[in-house]
């Protein structure tokens, strides 16, 4: 008993002392590193993912898809937050008879074409596009409608959406769309792109119906023209989906689709791709 007690103190004392010394060292190091940092580790420089070469969908065991763009791709307005992306990929997988994997829904609510254009210069987005076989894309709605909305207006009543302003913005926004398509193509020469075109959320507002319709016709036509020139881009029309009984397919914000609306878009996207 006596001997055990005798051994306790030397061991315990030494261990405690060592622990204290170790922690003091760590504390001092943390202060030094915060206020007088040394250069730090040298890391290997990041490699850019190489775009996949000449991949025919039929020869691939699995289709890798990414979704980019704005709130429509995000699924805003859908109570479950799903949107069209998952459903359309599931339907596509069924009709292709092979798995389609969603490698990320990178859409950001409120994104404008110019911002997407900038994002495509970042490494994260470039890697994502380079590694994909399919890109689902929505863009342009915020440029044309949200940004031409005057402060204070409620979008439900078409509040302050100014068709003239939207029309003035049209050429610049179309240039941005072209830049986005060009960048996507440069990043990945073989990727299939499905661009979900714009619908008219203000169809039920008589004073906006005609002017917005003509803007949309111009925009969607321009997108189709770009797609034609590229050859591997499909433009998925949605204008007709939200014309009759738009209230059934729009969510409570009267701007984004609801679940039923997204379900209809999903069917269209899947059909357009196979």
């Amino acid at each position: 008993m006596k001997r055990r007690k005798d051994r306790l103190w030397p061991v315990l004392g030494t261990v405690c002392l060592l622990c204290t010394a170790l922690l003091l060292l760590g504390f001092g190091w943390a202060l030094k590193d915060t206020w007088a940092p040394s250069p730090g580790l040298v890391l290997p420089s990041p490699t850019q993912a190489a775009p996949q070469q000449g991949s025919q969908w039929t020869s691939l065991p699995e289709i890798k898809a990414i979704a980019i763009g704005d709130s429509l791709t995000r699924g805003v307005g859908d109570v479950a937050g799903k949107g069209y992306v998952e459903d359309s990929l599931a339907q596509l997988s069924e009709s292709l008879g092979k798995p389609v994997r969603l490698n990320g829904n990178l859409a950001v609510s409120g994104l404008e074409a110019a911002e997407l254009d900038d994002k495509l210069d970042g490494k994260a987005m470039q890697d994502a596009v380079a590694g994909a076989d399919l890109v689902l894309l929505t863009i342009g709605g915020n440029d044309l409608f949200r940004s031409s909305q005057q402060a204070g207006g409620s979008i439900a009543e078409g509040g302050g959406v100014d068709p003239d302003l939207a029309e003035r913005r049209l050429p610049a926004t179309e240039e941005r769309l072209k830049a986005v398509f060009t960048k996507l193509r440069a990043l990945n020469p073989s990727v299939r792109i499905a661009y979900v075109s714009l619908y008219n959320p203000f169809y039920e507002l008589a004073q906006l119906r005609a002017p917005i319709a003509s803007i949309l016709a111009d925009w969607n036509g321009y997108a189709a023209h770009l797609a034609e020139a590229d050859g591997n881009i499909v433009v998925v029309p949605t204008v007709d989906l939200f014309q009759s009984q738009s209230a059934r397919y729009l969510s409570s914000d009267h701007f984004h689709p609801n679940e039923a609306g997204y379900a209809r878009i999903a069917v269209r996207v899947a059909q357009a791709l196979n």
Binding site: P39, N103, G122
Partner: protein
């Protein structure tokens, strides 16, 4: 000097005999597996969902960016998320995986989450009755009848407390490392972590960012955690001198620590709360580069606040203990 060493030895063995440290080790052995299991479940649920960690990280960045666009989330959350998004982006741009599963990473995350409540609580198990138990047990008279000045006795208790705080922290890290290693593997010491993120308003300043190994990060974090644990210990020490009952001193300290963690979550607009010690306990936020609980807090500021509180607590302890009448 010899006599001081004898006193410290006496105190250290006394605490050991009270089996406090054994209880702490048991608590750790019971709780750490729970956290490891939870972490394993998280890892499993995201496994197979993404092609690689880059895809997962991209999705996380996109999800957090989307949360930022909502008007309904409070301003502080936004700041926190902006910092997170920019950090994750930094990792992604440099092709460094911030979430490799290994025991070192787990231990670092565990320490980071434990610094606010769990570690103070364990420290309190030793600190809150180191003096008061002598009085409630009546042994203080035996202690004070020795031919030793009172302040020397108190100083020996303070040294003992310091040693136990260190022991508790190293044990916590060791248990966490050893248990989580069974699941996640014992590697990861040399993996890079980025430190030096500075928050500049709502923007992240990355000019000072540099990579260190995870092992170095763990040591630094342990050092910072040690400093805040020592502050809690010293203040508990003072309360233990002032309050006769161990239960009262434990409850007082627990209330202080818990209210600190609540305040840190809600006091962002009450700026003078930053002078309270309990809001400053989480020093690891500065290492991580996430926004501090209250704007304007920096590592230097928090260290200064904690140091002033600690020194004041030590001053009060000694002043009271040397003058106190010992009745009963």
């Amino acid at each position: 000097m010899r006599r001081d060493l004898e006193l410290i030895r006496n105190e250290t063995v006394k605490v050991w005999k009270k089996k406090r440290f054994a209880v702490i080790v048991l608590i750790l052995l019971a709780l750490v597996p729970v956290f490891v299991y939870a972490q394993m479940k998280i890892a499993q649920s995201s496994q197979g969902k993404y092609e690689d960690w880059r895809a997962e990280l991209r999705q996380r960045i996109a999800d957090n960016t989307n949360a930022l666009t909502s008007d309904r989330i409070p301003e502080e959350w936004k700041k926190w998320r902006v910092a997170l998004v920019q950090q994750l982006q930094y990792y992604l741009d440099r092709d460094v995986n911030p979430n490799t599963p290994n025991a070192v990473r787990f231990t670092n995350t565990f320490l980071q989450n434990a610094v606010g409540l769990f570690i103070p609580l364990m420290v309190l198990a030793v600190a809150s009755d180191i003096v008061s138990s002598e009085r409630s047990g009546g042994t203080i008279k035996m202690l004070l009848t020795r031919p030793v000045r009172r302040w020397r006795i108190l100083a020996s208790k303070l040294v003992t407390l310091t040693m136990y705080v260190s022991l508790i922290l190293v044990t916590t890290a060791a248990v966490s490392y050893l248990v989580s290693g069974l699941v996640f593997g014992y590697g990861g010491w040399r993996e890079p972590v980025f430190v030096g993120f500075r928050l500049n308003g709502s923007d992240m300043d990355t000019t000072g960012v540099h990579a260190i190994t995870q092992g170095a990060y763990m040591l630094m974090q342990l050092g910072l955690v040690w400093f805040s644990a020592m502050t809690v210990a010293v203040i508990a020490f003072m309360v233990s001198v002032l309050v006769r009952s161990t239960a009262a001193s434990l409850v007082t300290m627990m209330a202080a620590v818990i209210s600190g963690s609540i305040l840190a979550n809600m006091a962002s607009s009450w700026h003078s709360a930053k002078y309270l010690f309990n809001v400053n306990l989480d020093l690891s936020v500065y290492l991580q580069g996430s926004p501090p609980p209250i704007e304007g807090m920096t590592l230097g500021f928090s260290l200064a606040v904690l140091a002033i509180w600690s020194l004041a607590a030590i001053g009060v302890s000694f002043a009271v203990f040397t003058r106190q009448d010992i009745l009963a």
